[in-house]
């Protein structure tokens, strides 16, 4: 007869049985997790990326020293991308007798492609979103510039040969943090007027940027095509002070989502493994009977595979429906954030999830199925006749290959794969060894305890390999749950820090030494916190260890750029609280010797510098030599003024310095800032509140997504615990029936079972805490670039959670078994 026929016929009736349900749940959970997380990660990461891209005013920003050729725009159009260009240069602008240095940015029609320009008709008051760009012969200038030129809206100023009317006060442009090292007040004009200024000549310091935006894949394919023809002088995406922050947040959120996906998958994999084992074991009797009636091995294995296949299909269907609903729910929660002009979700994640689920299902069930095939028909007469055991190497190999293939297909992040998979394997090995040791120790320890414990402990030791596998399954489930919980807490905390109440929302720059006290007075009389000023000296690097910076070779492409740009130097007695020395040590607070310099870690890497190297700067025409004394890590998330290069006290005393300050303003901030600018016309105030808001937006949405996806994993974890208890239910049911028949009270049997689970839970909990701490440390540091602080709570959660979860799910799974009258079990 046809195996498929038989498989089909019995499948739907067997669906109700425990092991099939658990297996089905595990499969559909894996599919749901994969589809939902797939949909979500995709959407959230695109949305996060887009928001981060606002800092660039585009999805891709290409910087060029030369004017943007029109072919670039044509190429962008070919890839259905929108494009724009900017030309930025410093110049002095005039109004009557007054003049001021300004950063002029000429923008083309579509600017900005991401984010919005905000303008107002009155200083520091309600701003509105600008529609389009300034009309021809009109400029939008920021408040500081207007103050310095003493002009108002409607007045005319000269930019080179161009006479332009001031249309609005420029309060925000999305890309203002790019190059805000250039610090001069800024002004936007229409690129149609660029040539009218007469300032664009050969040798003038104009920097051009080409901006594109559109659907993610198109941007990528465009860039691939572009790379073929781009001149070497073009740099993609400026990475300058300040622009990294939003991107880091976005990347971390994405990584966490992928991590969650990986872990949900691993958990479902364990659940599938446990229930697939039982699925096969439960079929032993049926197979033996079929064989005694004359069924061939082929028929046996193909009908079991057929059922497994049906189960897979059912799991994929229910799982993708669930995944789809969850995605809808989360997208609803996240609202507009993820919905803006994204391509509709496709079948991609569903296929991927279905494929992975089948790989997992068959990878884990295969060894059990092979064993099933070899069931001796003798089993119909001797119930203890078992198929020959299968090599553990084979089982391990099959499962490992299945998991790795699946993870590789679904997550491209190889570092994460290596860390998580390697870590989990190591933990699993540890758990197995510990499980075996536990088993043999308990075998000896079981005399000298009460009946319940003796029964429980002897159970653990007698079941040997099964008990060890239980410890592994429980332990792994717990490990990844703990891992995810605590990495998540760390991540959310680091984000919280970013949004700390004290994070500055304005920067005040270009403050002269003698202006500090008068500015402080303004703050004091307005009941605002007195700003702290950090000194800043503009410098260029001339040589490194005597070698010209222009000729030197750098380990990274960015080093060249870093060495040749203008540097902002600062000095400090003590290290800023948002910095941490990672190499060497900070100088003594009273140090007054030869100039020393502290380098930011990335800068040191890019420039290829280490402690003891000698840097020569040119500051206002004079040379200064400083020795690298330590390397420092900067928490850019803090939004405090920070510097790539900080010198020792006194080093910069001889040079003209200005001061910079991060401000957190409350209440009457328009009034305070207007007063500062009116009374100190050379001081600039930059509003970074908008960037902060932008980052906060990303963080809020990303944390929500993280929490929702985390729930999934929690469910998967509980399922694993349940599945691993469920796997031994038959035997336990039989044993407790026998014990009851022998006169044991139900409470004794229950206590015995609980004793057994308590021991397993404790060992698993302990090892899971250990494994999770180590893995969490590796992951927070390597994947999230965050600091890891050991957490006692994790250990408490591991141990208490281990014991209670294992006991509770064990009790739940066995409750029925224990309450059935013993006869029913023994006669069945």
């Amino acid at each position: 007869m046809s195996a498929i026929h038989y498989a089909l016929r019995s499948f739907f009736r067997e669906l109700r049985s425990g092991e099939v349900m658990v297996l089905l749940a595990a499969v559909s959970l894996a599919v749901a997790a994969l589809t939902a997380v797939g949909f979500l990660t995709d959407r959230v990461s695109r949305a996060v990326e887009r928001q981060a891209n606002e800092v660039l005013a585009a999805d891709l920003r290409l910087r060029s020293p030369d004017p943007i050729p029109t072919e670039w725009h044509e190429l962008a159009r070919e890839y259905e991308l929108r494009s724009a260009e900017t030309a930025t240069f410093p110049t002095v602008v005039f109004s009557g007798d007054l003049s001021s240095l300004a950063t002029v940015m000429a923008v083309s029609t579509n600017y900005p492609l991401r984010g919005q320009v905000r303008i107002t008709e009155q200083l520091f008051t309600d701003q509105r979103i600008a529609e389009g760009i300034p009309a021809e012969n009109t400029v939008w200038a920021d408040a500081a510039l207007l103050a310095r030129l003493d002009v108002d809206i409607g007045d005319t100023i000269s930019v080179g040969e161009l006479e332009a009317k001031v249309g609005s006060v420029l309060t925000y442009r999305p890309d203002q943090s790019i190059g805000f090292a250039s610090l001069a007040p800024s002004l936007i004009l229409n690129s149609a007027n660029l040539n009218d200024t007469g300032l664009v000549k050969t040798g003038s310091r104009v920097r051009y940027a080409f901006l594109v935006a559109g659907i993610g894949e198109n941007v990528e394919t465009f860039y691939q095509a572009f790379e073929q023809l781009q001149p070497a002088s073009v740099r993609a995406r400026s990475r300058e002070e300040g622009s990294d922050r939003a991107i880091t947040t976005a990347e971390r959120a994405q990584r966490f989502l992928s991590l969650t996906a990986v872990i949900s998958l691993l958990l479902s994999a364990v659940a599938i493994a446990m229930s697939a084992r039982r699925f096969a074991q439960r079929r032993l009797d049926t197979v033996a009977l079929m064989k005694s009636l004359g069924a061939s091995q082929h028929l046996v294995i193909s009908s079991a595979s057929g059922q497994l296949f049906l189960l897979g299909i059912l799991g994929v269907v229910t799982g993708s429906i669930a995944g789809f609903l969850v995605e809808k729910l989360v997208v609803g929660l996240l609202g507009e954030f993820v919905q803006t002009d994204l391509p509709p979700i496709g079948w991609g994640p569903v296929f991927l999830a279905a494929g992975s689920a089948f790989i997992l299902l068959f990878g884990f069930a295969m060894p059990a199925l092979m064993q099933l095939k070899n069931t001796p028909p003798l089993r119909v007469l001797r119930h203890d006749a078992m198929p020959p055991p299968i090599s553990r190497l084979f089982i391990g190999g099959c499962s490992l290959i299945a998991v790795t293939v699946m993870l590789y297909i679904s997550i491209g992040d190889s570092l994460m794969l290596l860390l998580v998979l390697g870590g989990v394997l190591a933990v699993a090995a540890l758990l197995y060894i510990a499980g075996r040791i536990l088993v043999s120790l308990l075998g000896r320890a079981r005399t000298g305890v009460g009946i319940a414990w003796r029964y429980g402990l002897s159970n653990v030791s007698r079941r040997g390999r099964d008990s060890a596998i239980e410890v592994v399954a429980f332990g792994l489930g717990l490990t990844v749950l703990l891992l995810l919980t605590f990495v998540r807490v760390d991540l959310l905390e680091s984000w919280q820090q970013t949004l700390a109440e004290s994070a500055p929302d304005h920067f005040m720059i270009n403050v002269q030494p003698d202006e500090r006290s008068s500015i402080a007075d303004i703050f004091r009389t307005n009941n605002q916190a007195i700003p702290e000023f950090a000194p800043m000296v503009r410098a260029r690097m001339e040589s490194i260890n005597g070698e010209d910076v222009r000729e030197r070779r750098y380990p990274m492409e960015d080093g060249q750029w870093m060495a040749n740009r203008e540097q902002n130097l600062s000095w400090a007695k003590s290290i800023s609280p948002t910095n941490k020395v990672v190499e060497g040590k900070w100088w003594a607070a009273d140090y007054a010797g030869e100039p020393l310099v502290s380098l930011e870690r990335e800068a040191a890497l890019e420039l290829g510098l280490s402690i003891g190297d000698k840097l020569t700067y040119i500051i206002a025409g004079q040379k200064l030599e400083a020795t690298v004394f330590n390397v420092r890590e900067v928490n850019w998330d803090s939004f405090q003024p920070n510097f790539f290069m900080v010198l020792s006290p006194g080093s910069l005393d001889a040079y003209p310095s200005t001061f910079i300050s991060g401000l957190r303003l409350a209440g009457n901030k328009e009034q305070v800032l207007t007063e500062v600018i009116r009374t100190h016309p050379t001081v600039s105030v930059i509003d970074i509140g908008s960037i902060l808001l932008q980052v906060k937006g990303i963080i809020d949405k990303a944390s929500l997504a993280v929490q929702v996806v985390f729930l999934f994993t929690l469910v998967a974890g509980l399922l694993v615990l349940f599945a691993s208890v469920h796997a031994t239910i038959d035997q336990r049911r039989f044993e407790s029936a026998i014990l009851c028949t022998l006169g044991a009270r139900r409470s004794t049997v229950v206590a015995g079972v609980l004793a057994e689970f308590a021991v397993i839970g404790m060992v698993a909990g302990f090892l899971a805490s250990l494994g999770a701490s180590l893995l969490a440390a590796a992951i927070t540091v390597n994947l999230f670039d965050l600091e890891y602080t050991p957490n006692m709570l994790l250990w408490a959660a591991g141990l208490i959670g281990g014991v209670t979860l294992v006991c509770a799910s064990g009790y739940l799974a066995l409750r029925r078994a224990i309450s059935v009258p013993p006869v029913a079990v023994l006669r069945a």
Partner: protein
Amino acid sequence: MSENMNKQAVLTAKNVTKKVSSPEGTLTILSEVTFSVQKGESVALVGVSGAGKSTLLALLAGLDLPTAGEIWLGDVNLTELDEDGRAAVRASNVGFVFQSFHLLPSLNALENVMLPLELGGDGNPRGTATKIMERVGLGARLHHYPAQLSGGEKQRVAIARAFATRPAVLFADEPTGNLDSVTGEKIADLMFDLNRNSSTTLIIVTHDSSIAARCDRRLGLEAGCLVADEKKPQ
């Protein structure tokens, strides 16, 4: 005489020995068992618990292989076949009735009876199975699942399943062991009835002396050795 016997023998055991390894060393469960059974004969296999009856039954049906010796079912040497080969022989020539029924819980009574017919490639499994279900008196319970049947009814279904393929030999391991004596008696009646009408050879392991007494022949096992072989006086 012996030539005549060999011609009609449907089942032959030649010097069958079964040894198993155990923690205490090698155990000999059966040693040098030799006998042969005629077509249509009914044989009771008796002996105390642990004597080796089930082991012998398993070997005779090809469920397991002997350590030494040969087993012939008709003109097929079971000991020379691989597992699938023995399964194919069972599908067409052998039926089973077990002490604990062994019905598949996920199939209903009719489907359980259809199972060996389908495995054996019967042209009309449903029709054949329905007919035989009527013969065992369960024509009204075709679509009931095992869980909905009493012990006696389950064993009737099992007997229907065993006879459905009209096997040459039917093996029964303590078929009434799980039933009360009245039900057991009825089950025995049914088996002997079918045995007579379809000239199937019957091999029954039993502790029930009244069943043993109804068989044509009694084989006695003791500690793995054949110690008695008595024909019922005609």
